[in-house]
């Protein structure tokens, strides 16, 4: 039997840089109230959301990703040519093939890296980060660009008073690279397919096939069921991620949960009994729920505003349609 030479990876991986892009147009609740019977007070009390960003025609999934990636690459201090793989998590890029990752890789000047899209809803960033870590440690890429990007305004039913106010658009990106010390903990992740109807696209694309007039697809959810799962089941997963990384709540500096809804964030913090000193990301107030983009966007804002600093220990957890989830502890770039 011939001997196959094994690949050589780095001992560990770390997030080296982060970048975000929020569309120019800021949409206050007043605009949402033009199409649903509700109130600013109701929206704020149920979600904590005051404004969100909606993309223009020019702010495509690729364009937003390229902007966020450029910032992440600069923040990491590498050149685009050093990127060995590009992973894009999105549910709102409307071409199934080719993957949008290849176009983004080309436009950021990354040359010919491996490039592919993943579908893991609001847990997409954690899924991408976990893949990137594996690739770096295994040796198939030295630097990986992980992007979470959404134009959820395209998948929002503006007449649905339960969801019309929830979603926003944006892109968040990180560069993951080699590290001499552990800087991304074990991922606690999984799926619960028995709850696949809890958050879903209203109609499948192929319903447009047979000339059947269908309302354009939108994302819908069972609010109470999602809330219960997100707060109480995901708090357990978050705790498991802390335990797996050997980090106690006292050691933790920052908590960056998926920015789904302020009420979920508040209840998770309470359920997890996080100490007062832990900085909690609350980007949802002005960014809305941007699915896979929400964690890197929140991470970038915490660092940019000085609420968190490089070297801080952060617990990140994403959860959403699938249902799927991924949680891990990282050192902030």
């Amino acid at each position: 039997m011939s001997k196959i030479k094994p690949s050589q990876g780095a001992p560990y991986a770390r997030i080296m840089g982060v970048g975000g892009y929020r569309p120019t147009r800021v949409v206050p609740n007043e605009v949402i109230l033009e199409t649903i019977d509700s109130s600013d007070e109701w929206i704020r009390s149920r979600s904590g959301i005051a404004t969100r960003h909606w993309a223009s025609e020019q702010e495509t999934v690729a364009a937003m990703s390229v902007e966020a990636s450029g910032k992440a690459i600069a923040d990491a201090g590498i050149t685009p040519e050093q990127i060995g793989a590009v992973i894009v998590s999105t549910v709102s890029h409307f071409k199934q093939t080719p993957a949008i990752a290849t176009e983004i890789a080309h436009k950021v000047g990354a040359g010919k890296p491996a490039a592919f899209d993943i579908s893991a809803g609001c847990a997409g960033f954690g899924y991408g980060l976990t893949l990137a870590k594996g690739m770096i440690v295994e040796g198939s890429a030295e630097y990986v660009l992980v992007i979470g990007v959404e134009r959820l305004s395209d998948l929002t039913d503006l007449s649905d008073r339960a969801t019309a106010f929830l979603f926003g658009d944006g892109a968040g990106a990180v560069i993951v690279g080699p590290s001499k010390v552990p800087a991304i903990g074990p991922t606690v992740w999984g799926s619960e397919g028995d709850k696949s109807e809890t958050i879903k696209q209203t109609v499948a694309w192929d319903t447009f096939h047979a000339d059947r007039p269908e309302k354009f697809p939108a994302i819908t959810q069972e609010g109470q069921a999602v809330f219960r799962w997100a707060v109480f089941e995901m708090a357990k997963v978050a705790q498991q991620a802390l335990d797996a990384a050997g980090i106690s709540p006292e050691d933790l500096d920052v908590f960056i949960p998926h920015q789904a809804n302020m009420r979920i964030i508040d209840s998770m913090v309470k359920t997890l009994k996080l100490p007062e000193h832990v900085t909690v990301a609350r980007d949802v107030e002005t960014t809305g729920n941007t699915s896979a983009a929400s964690i890197p966007l929140a991470m970038e804002r915490l660092l940019a505003t000085g609420q968190a600093k490089s070297g801080d220990t952060a617990l990140v957890i994403g959860f959403g349609a699938g249902l799927v989830y991924a949680a891990t502890v990282v050192t902030l770039p």
Partner: protein, 82 residues
């Protein structure tokens, strides 16, 4: 030992007080969670989960929407408690 109706009502009053800040004496059997006690749909989930733990009972999502009054919840717990 199974809780009595009075114990369940008192327990629910404490839970609603803690979660929604409603005075315990306002939590009465005929009161509607949403209309009278200002417990919204998300706080209701927190009330339900706290009640599950306290009274060793499972209240599935599909049953939560039927618990309109404090009396509904008390009856449900009385019937299903472990």
């Amino acid at each position: 030992m199974a809780a009595t109706q009075k114990e369940i009502l008192d327990g629910l009053a404490e839970i609603v007080n803690e979660i929604a800040g409603i005075p315990v004496e306002d939590v009465e059997l005929e009161k509607s969670f949403t209309d009278d006690l200002d417990v919204d749909s998300l706080s209701m989930v927190e009330v339900v989960v706290a009640a599950e733990e306290r009274f060793d009972v499972k209240i599935p999502d599909e049953d939560v929407k039927n618990l309109k009054t404090v009396g509904d919840a008390t009856e449900y717990i009385l019937k299903h408690q472990g």
